[in-house]
């Protein structure tokens, strides 16, 4: 039986719910969102409640993660960026656990849904706009003119910068979605070849399946990291408005 490698992303309404004509039915992706937040919450709360001076494995891991995010925020936004620590850290935890739980065979990768990643990226971008305008007022529009731009270039720079600003949330959403989708499609294709190839030639794609699967473990972390660090960078830009660029160079 031939199955499309995209079949794994299809959803069915398991529990149809509709409120005011809006479809809120529960499907596999929604269930796995719950799994993700349940696992993440249990592990993190357990790690957070032990608070030993010499940490155990779980506490170490959680502390490493928290310290990792804290360093990321400090480097991109500075000390005042710690206000966003809960948001940024939860985002990282949610994406990381989604990516990893999605790697369990039979599970659903929540982050392989473009709408899920888009919701996150627009949330982040929206917050950065709100922070920018509330901190700098109309001057925040100066983000469209990079510092040191000669006057005659400004009419050219503004459209380019507008495009780059619009590209930010889109690229953020598409990067995560595409990476997750591509990885799982690749695994499905290779595993499909393993099944249809049989014992004689099937071992070759199977070796690749295992290799790609291991690679996906790295990608799961890297994509969560990239999403989070870009979140920090965008928020940092809103915070410092050009100041950050001067720091960076």
């Amino acid at each position: 039986m031939e199955e499309s490698p995209l079949h794994q992303f299809e959803l069915q309404r398991w529990v149809p719910i509709s409120i005011g004509g809006l479809d809120l039915s529960i499907n596999k992706a929604v269930v796995f969102m719950w799994v993700v937040i349940a696992v993440a919450a249990v592990l993190m709360v357990m790690a957070g409640s032990s608070r030993k001076l010499v940490p155990g494995k779980l506490q170490s891991l959680a502390e490493m993660m928290v310290d990792f995010i804290r360093t990321m925020i400090m480097e991109t936004m500075g000390k005042e960026g710690m206000r966003f620590f809960p948001l940024v850290a939860t985002l990282f935890v949610f994406i990381l656990f989604s990516n990893y739980i999605g790697l369990i065979p039979g599970a659903y990768t929540v982050t392989s849904q473009i709408i899920v990643t888009a919701a996150f990226s627009f949330l982040v971008y929206g917050i950065s706009l709100v922070v920018g305008f509330s901190l700098h007022g109309v001057k925040f529009l100066g983000i469209l003119v990079p510092p040191g731009t000669p006057g005659w270039l400004v009419p050219l720079m503004i459209p380019i910068e507008i495009i780059s600003q619009i590209a930010r949330p889109i690229s953020l959403a598409v990067r995560l979605f595409a990476n997750m989708t591509a990885g799982h499609v690749m695994l499905a294709v290779l595993f499909g070849l393993t099944i249809s190839g049989g014992l004689l030639v099937g071992w070759l794609p199977f070796v690749f399946t295992v290799a790609i699967y291991l690679l996906e473990f790295g990608i799961a972390f890297i994509q969560a990291y990239i999403f989070t660090i870009l979140t920090c960078v965008y928020l940092g830009d809103a915070f410092h408005l050009h100041g950050h660029e001067e720091h960076a160079h």
Binding site: I37, R51, A89, T90, V110, I115, A119
Partner: protein
Amino acid sequence: MPQFEPDFFSSLIFWEVISFGILLFVLYKYAFPGILSALEEREKKIKDSLDQAEQHRSEAERRLKEYEAKLNAAGKEAEAILVAAKERAQRLLDENEQRLTAEAERIKGDATRQIDQERRKALQDIRAQTTELALMVAEKVVQRSLTEADQRRFADEALEALSKSQPR
């Protein structure tokens, strides 16, 4: 691609917001404060320990310098004592030598004087006895032929000769 079909968009967004909100709340309330404070506690502890170690180190260094200085001073003192003792010993030695030399000189002088005295006394004794003996002999030899006066003169001549032949 199934992900681009908008059938499930509304339910996915809705449940995502709810899930994310719950997770944010739980972590914000029950996980992050504990982990962050544990991290900060540990950082503080490590920093304190390092500070303390640094303090101990400088203290130890200071003590070492102190001891070295003391040791140095003690060495110098010992050297000074040694030099003084040597000087004193040399002086005593010299004094003793001088004293002994003087004593020896004195004893030698005494002995010489005594010997001289004894010699003189012996000479006198010998002279007296010899005179007597000569007189006796002469008396016997020339008892009749000589007068008392002649006897005296001969005896004196003999004595003279004797004292000339023995000048000391």
